[in-house]
C-alpha cells in the first residue's frame, strides 16, 4: 500500500518546514517529502489543496480509563476519538484499575492498542506501587516493558523522602518522571481556585500555593537528585516563573499545560458549572496569560489534552461532589489553533507544541515528518469553521465546557503508520 498527499501546505516544525510540499508514504513509512522517488506510483492519493499537512499530534497525557473505568471510556472509544482529533501518539496515565504498575499492565495496554491500530498508545507507569507513595515501582522492569515515563498521576507524593528515592531510582535508569505538583494539605478539600469567584460562590478553594509549594519542593529535589522531572498540567504564573528560572539554571526540567488552562479561567466556574471542574483548577486571567507566555517562549514545550472522559453521573451532582476533568482529545488541535488566531504564538510554533515538542520531551522520534519515520500525519482544513456539539463526539466522555464554541480548523484525515484511520465525512 502506498499513498501520496498532494498539494498541501506542509508544516513540519521539527525540520523548520512550512511550504507547499507533497508527502509520500510506502507501507507504514514516510519515503519522501517533496518529489516522489523515481518510479513511485501511489495506490492512493489525497488531494490536500487548501489543506495543512502536519505530523500526527503527540499527546503527553490522556486518561483512557481502561482497564477499570470502562463506563467512562475504553481504549477503543478513546483512540477513535484521538484519531478524529488528529492525535496519533498518546501517553496514557497510570490511574487505571488496576493501576499500571507492573510489566503485565503495560503489556495489556500495548497489546490492546496494537490490535486496535488506531493510535500509538504509550504508557506512563506508576512511580510508586499502586500510586500509594510508599513503595517504589519496579522501574527497570517497567522500562523493559516499554513505558516511556513514570508518573504520580493525580496522587501527590506526601512523603518527600519517598519522592527523593523515587527520583534517584528513576534517574538510575534515565527515566523521565512526570510529577503533578500539588501539596495535598494546602489542596485540602478544595475544588476551585481560591480567588474571587470561589470566594463569592463559597466553593472550598485551592490556593495557587498548593501548586507552587510543590513545584519549589520538586525543583529542589530535581536539582538534588539530577533526575529528569517533567511537571504535568501547570496552572499558575508562579510555577511558570520557577520553571523558567530552573531551566535557565540548566536543570533538566520541563512541563506541559492542559489546553483548557490556556482558554478558561476561574470565571468559567460561575453558576457552579461542573463542566469546568478540573484539577488543577482554572485560575485567574493573569495565570492564564502567564501560561500562554510560557508556551509561546517554549518554557512550556508541550500542550496536552489532559483528557479525562467521564460518564454523565460523574458530573451530575453539586459542584464539589463532581469528578474533575474534561473530555478533550477532540478539541486539542482546535484549541491550539485558536491560540494562533488570538495572537499568542505563530502557527508553526503552535503546531510544535502538540507534535515535536512533546515528542522531544519524551525522547521519541515522532511528531515530525522525516523520511524513514512512521507515516503519522494529520491533515486539517484551516478554513473549515465548525461548532463543537457533544452529541457528535466520539469519546465516551461528553464532559466539555467547549460545547457550542466555534472553531476554525478541522481535521480532514488522520494517518497512523501510513494508513488512513480517520477521514472526515
Amino acid at each position: 500500500m502506498s499513498l501520496s498527499i498532494i498539494g498541501g501546505r506542509l508544516i513540519d516544525p521539527a525540520n523548520g518546514i512550512d511550504e507547499q510540499l507533497d508527502l509520500h508514504i510506502e507501507g507504514e513509512t514516510i519515503i519522501a517529502v517533496g518529489k516522489p522517488p523515481g518510479g513511485f506510483v501511489a495506490d492512493e492519493s489525497i488531494d490536500a489543496t487548501g489543506l495543512i499537512v502536519i505530523p500526527g499530534l503527540v499527546d503527553m497525557a490522556a486518561s483512557l480509563r481502561e482497564p477499570g473505568y470502562t463506563a467512562k471510556g475504553t481504549l477503543e472509544s478513546e483512540t477513535l476519538a484521538a484519531a478524529k482529533g488528529g492525535i496519533t501518539t498518546l501517553v496514557c496515565t497510570p490511574d487505571t484499575e488496576p493501576v499500571i504498575d507492573t510489566p503485565a499492565d503495560i503489556e495489556f495496554i500495548h497489546r490492546m492498542a496494537r490490535k486496535l491500530q488506531q493510535a500509538r498508545v504509550l504508557t506512563a507507569a506508576a512511580l510508586t506501587h499502586n500510586l500509594e507513595g510508599r513503595q517504589l515501582s519496579s522501574v527497570a522492569a517497567l522500562k523493559a516493558a516499554g513505558c516511556v515515563a513514570l508518573s504520580n498521576a493525580r496522587k501527590p507524593l506526601a512523603n518527600t523522602l519517598v519522592e527523593r528515592r523515587a527520583l534517584e531510582y528513576a534517574a538510575t535508569f534515565d527515566m523521565t518522571v512526570f510529577l503533578r505538583p500539588e501539596d495535598r494539605h494546602l489542596h485540602a478539600e478544595g475544588c476551585a481556585h481560591e480567588g474571587a469567584v470561589a470566594t463569592r460562590l463559597g466553593l472550598p478553594g485551592v490556593p495557587s500555593a498548593a501548586e507552587t509549594v510543590a513545584v519549589a519542593r520538586d525543583l529542589a529535589l530535581a536539582e538534588h537528585t539530577g533526575a529528569r522531572v517533567h511537571f504535568r498540567a501547570l496552572s499558575t504564573a508562579g510555577s511558570a516563573r520557577m520553571l523558567r528560572e530552573a531551566q535557565a539554571a540548566k536543570l533538566p526540567v520541563s512541563a506541559d499545560v492542559a489546553v483548557h488552562q490556556l482558554h478558561l479561567t476561574e470565571m468559567d466556574v460561575e453558576g457552579f458549572d461542573a463542566r469546568c471542574h478540573v484539577s488543577p483548577p482554572l485560575r485567574t486571567l493573569a495565570d492564564r496569560d502567564a501560561l500562554r507566555q510560557a508556551v509561546a517562549e517554549g518554557t512550556i514545550a508541550a500542550i496536552c489534552s489532559d483528557h479525562q472522559p467521564h460518564d454523565p453521573d460523574a458530573k451530575d451532582a453539586p459542584f464539589p461532589d463532581t469528578e474533575p476533568g474534561i473530555s478533550s482529545l477532540e478539541t486539542l488541535l482546535a484549541l491550539t489553533l485558536r491560540l494562533v488566531e488570538e495572537g499568542v504564538l505563530p502557527l508553526q510554533e503552535a503546531i510544535a507544541r502538540v507534535t515535536c515538542g512533546p515528542a522531544d520531551l519524551l525522547r521519541l522520534p515522532y511528531g515530525r515528518l522525516n523520511v524513514g519515520l512512521p507515516g503519522d500525519v494529520c491533515i486539517f482544513d484551516p478554513e473549515d469553521h465548525w461548532t463543537l456539539r457533544t452529541d457528535q463526539m466520539i469519546s465516551e466522555g461528553r464532559n466539555t465546557p467547549f460545547e457550542g464554541w466555534e472553531f476554525s480548523g478541522c481535521v480532514t484525515h488522520t494517518l497512523f503508520n501510513g494508513r488512513v484511520i480517520y477521514r472526515k465525512a
Binding site: A196, G202, L203, P204, G271, A317, P318, P320, D321, G404
Partner: protein, 328 residues
C-alpha cells in the same frame, strides 16, 4: 461562548422569583418587595402571626441533607401559616454522597406532587443543582448550601435592620467572626450592598477571612475595636466548635479575648447600634451574655421575623408559578 448556567434561573422571564437560591443577581426592588411582603405577614405587636390561605392544598417539602431543627422548624411554621401541607425529609448526607442518589431523592419526592422544595445541603451549589433538575412548576428555596448562600437568613436580617433603622443608605454594618465558612455572611454582604448601605465591614483574624474578601465589596478589619467604630449594626457570626481543630484558631479563650463582643467594646459603635446573631449562639465565645440579653440585642426578634420573611419568599415563588400556569 459556552452556554452558562447562571443565577437567572431563579427569575422567570418577567423578572419574578421562581426559586430563591441566592441574593446574587436580585435587584434592590425585588429585595424591597420581599421585605414589604414580609411586613404584611409580620405579627402585629402582641398578636400572633396571621394564618392566611395563600397556599392551601399545596405541598411543600423540607429536604434537609444537613441537620437543623431550628431552620427547618421556622420553614415548617411559615408553610403552615400559608396553609400548605408540609413534608419533612431528613436525609443523612452520608447516604447521599453521590449525585445520582441526590437526583433519585428529588425524583421520588417530586412523584409525591410536591411543588416546593426547601433545601439544605452541606455542599455549595446544591440548591442550584436541584433547581436545575427540578421539574417545571417546582420551586426551590435555599435553606443553606455549604459555604455559599443562606438567602432567607440574610433577608430576615435585612428585615430586622429595616425595622430598627428605617432606611439602609446611611448605615455602616460590621460582620464579625468566621466569614470564610459562612454562607450567612456571603448572603448578608450581597443583600446589604444591594440595598445600598454606606459600608459593610468584615472583622476577624486572617484565618477566618477569605483572601479575596475585598472582592465581595467589604472593608476588612482584623481589629475588633477599629471594625466596630461608628457602626450602626453589629452582626456576630457563630463560631463552629470544630474550627478549633483545624489550626484556624488557637483557642476559644483567645478568640473571645480578641473578637468576643462585650458591652465595653460596643461603646465605640453608634450609641443606638443594634446587635444581631443568626444563632445558635455560643455565649462567652462570640459574645458576652450581658450583650446577648442586653437592650441592643435584637437576636430573638430575628427569629420571629424569620417566619414572616420565609412566608413572603414562599408565597412569591408559588405565585410566580401560578402566574406561569405552572401549578399541578
Amino acid at each position: 461562548m459556552a452556554s452558562r448556567h447562571d443565577n437567572s434561573i431563579q427569575l422567570n422571564d418577567d423578572g419574578r422569583l421562581r426559586h430563591f437560591l441566592t441574593i446574587e443577581g436580585l435587584d434592590k426592588d425585588l429585595l424591597t418587595t420581599i421585605l414589604d411582603t414580609a411586613e404584611s405577614f409580620a405579627a402585629l405587636p402582641g398578636r400572633p402571626v396571621k394564618k392566611v390561605p395563600a397556599l392551601r392544598g399545596r405541598v411543600i417539602t423540607n429536604l434537609f441533607f444537613e441537620n437543623s431543627t431550628r431552620t427547618r422548624t421556622t420553614f415548617e411554621l411559615a408553610a403552615k401559616r400559608l396553609s400548605a401541607d408540609v413534608l419533612n425529609f431528613n436525609v443523612s448526607t452520608s447516604a447521599t454522597s453521590k449525585g445520582e442518589t441526590l437526583l433519585d431523592t428529588l425524583r421520588n419526592i417530586e412523584a409525591m406532587h410536591s411543588e416546593m422544595f426547601v433545601v439544605r445541603h452541606s455542599q455549595s451549589g446544591a440548591a442550584h443543582f436541584i433547581a436545575e433538575h427540578a421539574a417545571p412548576g417546582v420551586s426551590v428555596i435555599n435553606a443553606g448550601d455549604g459555604r455559599h448562600a443562606h438567602p432567607t437568613q440574610a433577608m430576615l436580617d435585612m428585615f430586622t435592620i429595616r425595622k430598627h433603622k428605617g432606611e439602609f443608605t446611611p448605615l455602616r454594618v460590621a460582620i464579625v467572626g468566621d466569614i470564610l465558612h459562612s454562607r450567612v455572611a456571603r448572603s448578608q454582604i450581597l443583600a446589604l450592598n444591594t440595598l445600598g448601605v454606606t459600608e459593610v465591614r468584615v472583622v476577624g483574624p486572617r484565618t477566618l477571612i477569605p483572601t479575596e474578601a475585598r472582592t465581595l465589596g467589604v472593608h476588612v478589619y482584623h481589629d475588633l475595636e477599629a471594625g466596630l467604630r461608628d457602626v450602626d449594626v453589629v452582626i456576630m457570626l457563630r463560631l463552629q466548635k470544630e474550627r478549633m481543630d483545624g489550626a484556624l484558631l488557637p483557642s476559644e479563650d483567645e478568640y473571645f479575648q480578641l473578637y468576643g463582643l462585650t458591652n465595653e467594646r460596643l461603646e465605640v459603635a453608634k450609641p443606638d447600634a443594634i446587635v444581631m446573631h443568626p444563632g445558635p449562639m455560643n455565649r462567652g465565645v462570640e459574645m458576652d451574655t450581658e450583650v446577648a440579653d442586653g437592650p441592643r440585642s435584637v437576636i430573638l426578634q430575628q427569629v420571629s421575623y424569620g417566619i414572616a420573611v420565609r412566608m413572603a419568599v414562599m408565597s412569591m415563588c408559588m405565585q410566580t408559578h401560578a402566574a406561569n400556569g405552572g401549578e399541578a
